[in-house]
């Protein structure tokens, strides 16, 4: 039983993910909407981590692929079928092609110039979705389903919605609620298996070596461009998959999904959890999405109720001080959290965990065997 064994890791991971509705119940995070978010952003982050965590190339434009995935999936629902399988496959593939194009152009530069190029391309996609591409994206309204959509495959199978909008399904099983979560969860497990394989392959080792010393890689006999481009495309496909899953759980797509804040969010999640580690990005997703859920739901009256046991003056004071940090102001809290992590734990939560476990091991006098996850 060692975490070096892929099968052990996958069994453990699958058990944790599939049992999430049960073990997240005590902290009130077990309802389907939030669970779906965990899984979808989890896929987004582990894919992003293949590029950023392994090669060190920081893309600020991955939201573009998220958006492309969503639009493609909705189009698949409109034109082909409400079955989610084609939507997910097409969303991933189209994003991959899009990533190939943007990556091919952006990877002509490295460092900050690469980041700025990806940011520029993503913002361009965002603006285009609002303007020129309105026939494809339906502009500000966002791309929505309608009862009159052709849905060629469904029509051939004789499935015609009678009343209201059709719902996404997996061969008849509706993709809302827990079944929607389990669909995302299974894809997350598959996605995690792919990243695990990449991390533990010669290809993955070469990617980390590029991060460590790009110049040396070139003189060692490697053409670094195709390595970077393939990593970029893989991470773009993960983002596209995540985007199409967003459309699966809620079949509409808007351009705001491509905004730079969405690109920034995945960077935050990855760094917060620990870039370059296998499960760090997932921890980052969990922490950010969970606290976003709690803090953004709080308002002044909820705060006042929480401080109720204190003297009135003090309660008022605390309410005034803390209210900018909750509700709409949740991003202020996130900013503070992010600053603390980057300053004191540049390796993210994973660094904190390894520091604590090393400390405990020393305390307990457990020398020798260390079976830490890489």
């Amino acid at each position: 039983m060692s975490l070096k064994n892929n099968l052990v890791v996958m069994l453990l991971f699958s058990a944790i993910v599939l049992s999430a509705p049960w073990w997240l119940a005590p902290i009130g995070a077990n309802y389907p909407d939030l669970l779906q978010k965990f899984a979808i952003f989890g896929l987004f982050a582990i894919g992003f981590n293949i590029l950023f965590g392994l090669t060190g190339y920081l893309s600020f434009g991955h939201a573009a692929f998220l958006g492309v995935g969503s639009y493609t999936a909705v189009w698949s629902f409109k034109l082909l079928t409400m079955n989610v399988i084609p939507a997910v496959i097409l969303g991933t593939l189209v994003s991959g092609v899009f990533a190939l194009l943007i990556g091919w152009l952006s990877l002509r530069r490295s460092g900050i110039y690469f980041s700025i190029l990806t940011l520029a391309f993503a913002q361009m996609s965002y603006s285009l979705a609002y303007s020129v591409l309105t026939p494809i994206t339906n502009g500000e309204t966002g791309l929505q389903l309608s009862q009159q959509d052709p849905r060629v495959l469904d029509a051939m199978a004789g499935i015609v919605p009678t009343e209201g909008l059709p719902t996404t399904n997996l061969f008849g099983m509706p993709m809302s609620g827990y079944s929607g979560f389990y669909f995302c969860a299974v894809l997350l497990i598959i996605g995690f298996w792919v990243t695990l394989k990449i991390f533990r392959s010669p290809y993955g080792l070469k990617l980390t070596a590029i991060k460590s010393n790009t110049m040396r890689m070139k003189y060692t006999g490697f053409n670094t461009r195709p390595y970077l481009l393939s990593a970029f495309v893989i991470s773009g496909m993960f983002a596209g998959l995540a985007g199409s899953l967003m459309a699966v759980t809620d079949p509409l797509a808007g351009a705001e999904r491509m905004q730079w804040t969405a690109s920034g969010e995945v960077v935050l999640m990855t760094i917060l959890g620990g870039a370059g580690t296998l499960i760090g990005p997932l921890l980052g997703v969990g922490i950010i999405k969970y606290f976003e859920n709690i803090f953004s739901a709080l308002n002044d009256s909820a705060l006042r109720a929480a401080y109720d046991f204190l003297p009135a003056g003090l309660a008022d004071f605390l309410t005034t001080v803390t209210s900018p940090f909750v509700g709409e102001g949740w991003h202020l809290t996130l900013g503070l959290l992010f600053m603390l992590v980057v300053i004191f734990l540049p390796g993210g939560v994973m660094q904190g965990i390894s520091l604590i476990s090393r400390f405990l091991r020393r305390r307990l006098g457990m020398a020798g065997e260390s079976g830490g996850a890489s």
């Binding site: 394989k197 010669p202 070596a209 460590s212 010393n213 060692t220 006999g221 053409n223």
Partner: protein, 253 residues
């Protein structure tokens, strides 16, 4: 027999500075050729022109019958010319074994190979080859140490292992013993002598005359961007031109 490396009329200027002027140098297969010369003579520039880090203004660098000028560094590496840098160029975030596995993988996989589903744990052949290269430079005991954390001398020996594991046709060594303690220097000399017996061609840039005279079959002297003498160690030792270049310099210092 034609030389394995033929540097023909290579010139390189930086601004107004003539770093190299019409340098001609032939390295025969199997020999150990030392390039010596005072600081700033253009030794490192010459190596950079060979491995594609710099492009010469004029002239050609023919290696194994092919002109290397304008070729990408990875293609030059796969042609069989490998350089060990003066300031250690390693992968500081990887461990020692991984540092040597990377060049071993390059040798096998070529400039690009997409194998994300192959398990690194099953690359036993690459691992063994890397381990034995580490053993050659007596670093195998520290295989799982972080390369960024070892001493400078050890980094240089690590980089030597990274070069050797590729079994190049021609190994370019840029001051392989600089920054090493005397014991390590002697160990490195012994190692390089062993390689010499294997028939690998080497070009060594070196300041340490002890190293040069214990290893070199032939020596070329570079001064102010020109080759002023080329010959056997004895010829060089007795050459008045060389004495002038070196003694002139040491009087200034």
């Amino acid at each position: 027999m034609s030389p394995i490396l033929d540097i023909d009329n290579v010139s390189k200027t930086f601004g107004g500075l003539h770093a190299l002027s019409d340098v001609n140098l032939k390295v025969e297969e199997g020999e150990t050729h030392a390039i010596i010369g005072p600081n700033g003579a253009g030794k490192s520039t010459l190596l950079n022109c060979c491995i594609g880090r710099l492009e010469p203004d004029t002239g050609s660098v023919t290696f194994n019958g092919r002109n290397m000028v304008g070729m990408e560094p990875w293609d030059i590496n796969h042609a069989g010319m490998v350089r060990v840098f003066q300031t250690p160029e390693i992968f500081p975030d990887l461990n020692l074994l991984e540092n040597v596995m990377i060049p071993a993988l390059a040798k096998r996989d070529g400039t690009f190979r997409f194998n994300p589903f192959r398990s690194l744990a099953r690359e036993t052949e690459i691992r063994d080859r890397a381990m034995s290269a580490l053993a050659d430079v007596s670093l195998d005991r520290f295989w799982n140490h972080h390369a960024g954390s070892i001493s400078r001398g050890d980094k240089r020996r690590l980089e030597l292992a990274m070069g050797l594991v590729q079994e190049p046709k021609l190994l370019l060594l840029d001051e392989p013993t600089a920054g090493m303690a005397r014991l390590d220097t002697n160990r490195t000399i012994d190692l390089l002598k062993q390689i010499k017996e294997s028939g690998m061609t080497k070009v060594i840039i070196e300041h340490d005359m002890h190293v040069v005279f214990s290893l070199a079959d032939r020596i070329s002297v570079l001064a102010q961007g020109r080759i002023i003498a080329s010959g056997t160690p004895d010829e060089i030792r007795n050459s008045p031109k060389v004495k002038e270049a070196y003694l002139g310099e040491s009087e200034d210092e």
